[in-house]
């Protein structure tokens, strides 16, 4: 899970408090927080990996039966009982936030909105959660306590038996009015057992004081009759078969940070003049390169960075530190499932649990303070990357010539990215390995001989251009490779262009080169339609948030 700190106006302190809540949880019914670390301006939060996927995912093939629901509810109540005893409220219980391990263990996830009550008796007054699952007292902002989670659990039970929460077809904003006013939802009819109906009714008591606690509900008949968690493996298997049968299930468009990041389009600029240090031309050469080098490092913080960050494996600066096996497995698997947008190449039955799913149910979350960027990034070991190590790495060989500067730039702004990009699209392990080796070798070249690096690339490009067959072939090959909506290297991306402009002014000699290359870059893709949908979602939640602040309390 990754939070882009740059895009969050919120105080870092708030995020810190969330992590504080996370890190004080240790229960078999709650996804375990492992570590967090910062790379550049991205905060990565490493959580326990659960291979079964979320209940929302498992619902895709169809609703659950009551036997399964009873087990899930019991495990959830155990988790809630733990949290509530710890003085914590989850505040966003729903199928999407219930994760299953491949062995059927059930765990609560996503503490994005969890709150810590310092005093057991105190109440909260903030407005968080997802409309359909929200308890009436939360919506009314009348102050609420851990009983709010019990309501959401009841709704989740209904979601699991019906495939969707009550009022699912209603507009989320309207639901906010509806829940406090309408009578509590009920399960009715002969399709459901008496126990389940009664359990749901017990959870969905509008008066929080009369709503039972998690501990009390554990004694409910529906719960006492629940079987073993292993039974839930059926759900996981069912889901795998379903995906396998469907074959080409299109994946959700990935949420990339730069799809929404609005960078200010600044004009080209040059260095400040500080009297006390010598004018740039007189500055000692080494100092100058260092500065340049620093500039190229800073590119990590541009929109391009998101992709760079997504796969650091190809990066030559990767710290080869011992990796926690669970972590490794986690990222390996997740990578294979998350990376390839093309349906044909998508391995079946693998889900990414902690990634925001922009499909129905998750998108309605009215309060999402930070943008979570999908975690495609493998093999980051927290030990090695504490405190942004890649920025701390010692300055590389100091060079002076124009060519070497250009070489450095070629490497840091193009070659590195390209490797990472291609790497992230390669699915076979062997192929990836080979690619990493080339990337490493290239990085070595960059360290030792940036000038040669520049010459090499220049020659390659020149030769490609001079070969009529190749130069005409190039673009079409690119289109054949499976692509996700890739903005990063799209040359028509205004951010990138302004960024280039800035850069090119600093080293004007390279203009020709850049232009050449611009024509040639892969991924000249205009974002597709999925992408618009995404934006619409984001705009909607922005709008909803705005409404919320202006809104008179219901």
């Amino acid at each position: 899970m990754c939070i882009d700190l740059e895009s969050s106006e919120d105080d870092i302190q708030e995020i810190q408090q969330e992590i504080a809540v996370l890190s004080t949880c240790a229960s078999p019914f709650v996804t375990q927080y492992k570590a967090s670390f910062v790379r550049g301006h991205k905060l990565w939060i490493v959580m326990e990996y659960l291979g079964g996927g979320s209940c929302l995912d498992l619902l895709k093939p169809g609703p659950f039966n009551e036997t399964h629901i009873a087990v899930i509810c019991r495990e959830l109540l155990l988790g809630l009982d733990y949290l509530h005893r710890e003085g914590k409220i989850h505040r966003d219980i729903k199928a999407a936030n219930v994760l299953l391990s491949s062995t059927g263990k059930v765990k609560l996830a996503d503490f994005g909105v969890a709150a810590q009550l310092t005093n057991i008796k105190s109440q909260r007054n903030t407005f968080v959660g997802t409309p359909f699952w929200m308890a009436p007292e939360v919506i009314q902002q009348a102050g609420y306590d851990f009983k709010a989670d019990i309501w959401s659990l009841g709704i989740t039970a209904m979601e699991m038996i019906n495939g969707e929460p009550p009022n699912a077809s209603t507009h989320p904003m309207k639901v906010l009015f509806l829940i406090p006013k309408a009578p509590a939802p009920r399960l009715e009819g002969s399709n459901y057992s008496r126990e389940l109906k009664d359990f749901v009714a017990a959870c969905l008591v509008k008066d929080p004081d009369r709503r039972p606690s998690a501990r009390e509900l554990l004694r409910h008949k529906f719960i006492r009759g629940a079987g073993k968690v292993e039974a839930l493996q059926e759900l996981v298997e069912r889901r795998q078969e379903w995906t396998g049968g469907k074959g080409g299930r299109t994946s959700h468009p990935r949420l990339y940070e730069e799809t929404m990041n609005t960078m200010s389009v600044k004009e080209e600029r040059d260095e400040w003049i500080f009297d006390t240090i010598k004018a740039p031309t007189l500055a000692p050469a080494s100092k100058r390169t260092q500065k340049r080098r620093k500039l190229s490092l800073m590119e990590h913080s541009t929109p391009e960075e998101a992709l760079q960050q997504l796969d650091i494996n190809g990066s030559p600066h990767q710290q080869k530190a011992p990796i926690d096996p669970t972590l490794q497995k986690n990222s390996e698997r997740r990578r294979s499932s998350a990376k390839v947008a093309s349906p044909a190449r998508r391995p079946s039955g693998q889900k990414q649990p902690l990634v925001p799913d922009m499909s129905f149910g998750n998108s309605g979350s009215t309060v999402r303070q930070f943008r979570r960027v999908s975690d495609n990034s493998p093999n980051i070991s927290p030990e090695s990357s504490m405190a942004g190590q890649d920025e701390n790495r010692p300055p590389l060989a100091e060079t002076v010539t124009k060519e070497s500067l250009l070489g450095r730039r070629v490497y840091s702004s193009i070659v590195e990215n390209t490797f990472q990009e291609v790497h992230s699209q390669t699915s076979t392990h062997a192929k990836r390995e080979a690619l990493s080796r080339v990337a490493d070798a290239w990085s070595a070249l960059d360290t030792i001989d940036p000038e040669g690096e520049y010459q090499l690339l220049k020659l390659i490009i020149e030769k490609v251009y001079s070969d009529p067959k190749l130069s005409s072939l190039l673009p079409s090959t690119n289109q054949n490779t499976p692509q996700k909506p890739k903005l990063v290297l799209a040359t028509n991306n205004p951010h990138l262009r302004s960024h280039r402009r800035r850069q090119s002014l600093q080293v004007p000699e390279e203009d020709i080169w850049t232009d050449n290359h611009q024509m040639n870059l892969p991924g000249r893709l205009v974002p597709g339609m999925e992408h618009t949908k995404l934006l619409a979602d984001v705009l909607y939640s922005r709008w909803a948030e705005g409404l919320k602040t202006r809104w008179p309390v219901v």
Binding site: Q16, V38, V265, F274, G388
Partner: protein
């Protein structure tokens, strides 16, 4: 162990404290496993006595006895030192106990008095505070200690103890020896410049190193130390100006994004605080500080640039700019006038920001073409802090 259960309720507070003490001392020895288990049980018991449980209320008399015995046995220090070694759940219990004990006032005591145990710590056992700070040295204890620290930092004496702590040659032996009169808050020498070796200066390392959770937790404590008690901090910063900002600049220039962004923000807050007027004027006189700050404006990360802006504006708004500062601004006038209008241009909904930016542009436009010697610095006459709003 069944005999313990029978006597649990009756076990006197003094006995309980002794048992805890023994277990803590056994933590490092061979039977540490057993000691951990005992401690877990004992601390949970203490927590229940203090807080009561869902079913039973705590008895005021028992609470009073327990807290006095904790003080007598010097358990607070032992416990503070031992926090990193405690098991996960026990650590949380210890945190609850500290929070409770440091808030506890005997019944019927006047409102204004300091909590009993805290008063003891402040006046004769400042090592407890220092030990809690040292919790940041361990991943395990950082958050628990941080929480307790931020609670006690509501008292200015605690901030003073942290700020003015200096390593003492005999401090190690003191830990084991009981009380030692003449230390604590009364012993602080406010006039002596700091050596930079005390516990406060360790925070400069803690806020930058370690994982996100530790460094940010340390930073919120650091922020509390520097912002909660203004007169204290203001005089401290004035006395130790060079040392402090020397260290602080390294945070602003940090490679760690989080440290960098948070420290720039805090710097802005410190400088714009009326209480820190003297510190601010000294700060904005320095051309080096201006340079750091102007480079921040150029940072590609817009939040860094944005926080940098709030420091930069203080330099420009200052009516008595030093010669060096004027020189830099004049030299860069054209660049600034070109740069600023487009600076963070997408912050259209931030009116205050746009206003301040417009103000700065005007200030820079109207600067004379060559530096003019500033008036004799008379901070007292110019009134409040120099901020974009007050100077026009």
């Amino acid at each position: 162990m069944s005999f313990l259960f029978g006597r649990n309720k009756q076990k006197s507070s003094a006995e309980l404290s002794k048992l805890v003490k023994e277990s803590i001392l056994r933590l490092d020895s061979a039977g540490s496993q057993k000691a951990e288990e005992d401690l877990a049980r004992l601390l949970a018991q203490i927590k229940h006595i203090l807080q009561g449980t869902a079913e039973t209320e705590s008895s005021p008399e028992q609470v009073y006895q327990l807290i006095t015995s904790l003080i007598q046995e010097d358990l607070l220090l032992l416990l503070a030192v031992a926090i990193p070694k405690l098991p996960f759940e026990t650590r949380k219990d210890a945190q609850v106990i500290f929070s409770y004990v440091f808030r506890y006032k005997p019944p019927n005591s006047p409102m204004a008095t300091e909590p009993l145990a805290l008063n003891h710590v402040i006046n004769s056992r400042p090592e407890v505070i220092v030990a809690l700070c040292k919790g940041y040295e361990h991943r395990e204890s950082a958050m628990s200690c941080g929480t307790v620290l931020r609670e006690v930092l509501k008292h200015d004496a605690v901030a003073a103890i942290i700020l003015y702590d200096e390593p003492k040659s005999g401090s190690l032996t003191n830990v084991a020896n009981g009380a030692n009169a003449g230390k604590g808050i009364a012993a602080i020498q406010y006039e002596t410049p700091q050596t930079g070796q005390g516990i406060f200066w360790r925070f400069f390392d803690w806020v930058e190193a370690g994982g996100f959770e530790i460094s940010t937790d340390a930073f919120s404590t650091f922020r509390d130390i520097l912002t909660k008690h203004k007169p204290l901090v203001s005089s401290y910063l004035s006395k130790n100006f060079t040392l402090f900002f020397g260290r602080y600049n390294s945070l602003v220039l940090s490679n760690n994004y989080v440290t960098k962004r948070q420290s720039i923000k805090l710097l802005g807050e410190i400088l714009l605080d009326r209480a820190n007027y003297q510190v601010m004027t000294a700060y904005v006189d320095s051309a080096d500080h201006l340079k750091i700050c102007m480079n921040l404006l150029r940072d590609e990360r817009k939040m860094v640039a944005y926080e940098g802006f709030h420091v930069f504006k203080v330099f420009v708004a200052n009516p008595n700019k030093s010669m060096a500062v004027q020189q830099i601004l004049i030299k860069n006038r054209n660049k600034l006038l070109k740069f600023l209008p487009e600076f963070l241009g997408d912050r259209t909904d931030d009116e205050q920001f746009s206003d301040e930016k417009a103000f700065l542009i005007r200030q820079i436009e109207t600067m004379p073409s060559s530096p003019i010697p500033p008036h004799a610095p008379q901070p007292a006459t110019s009134g409040g802090p120099v901020s974009a709003g007050t100077v026009t």
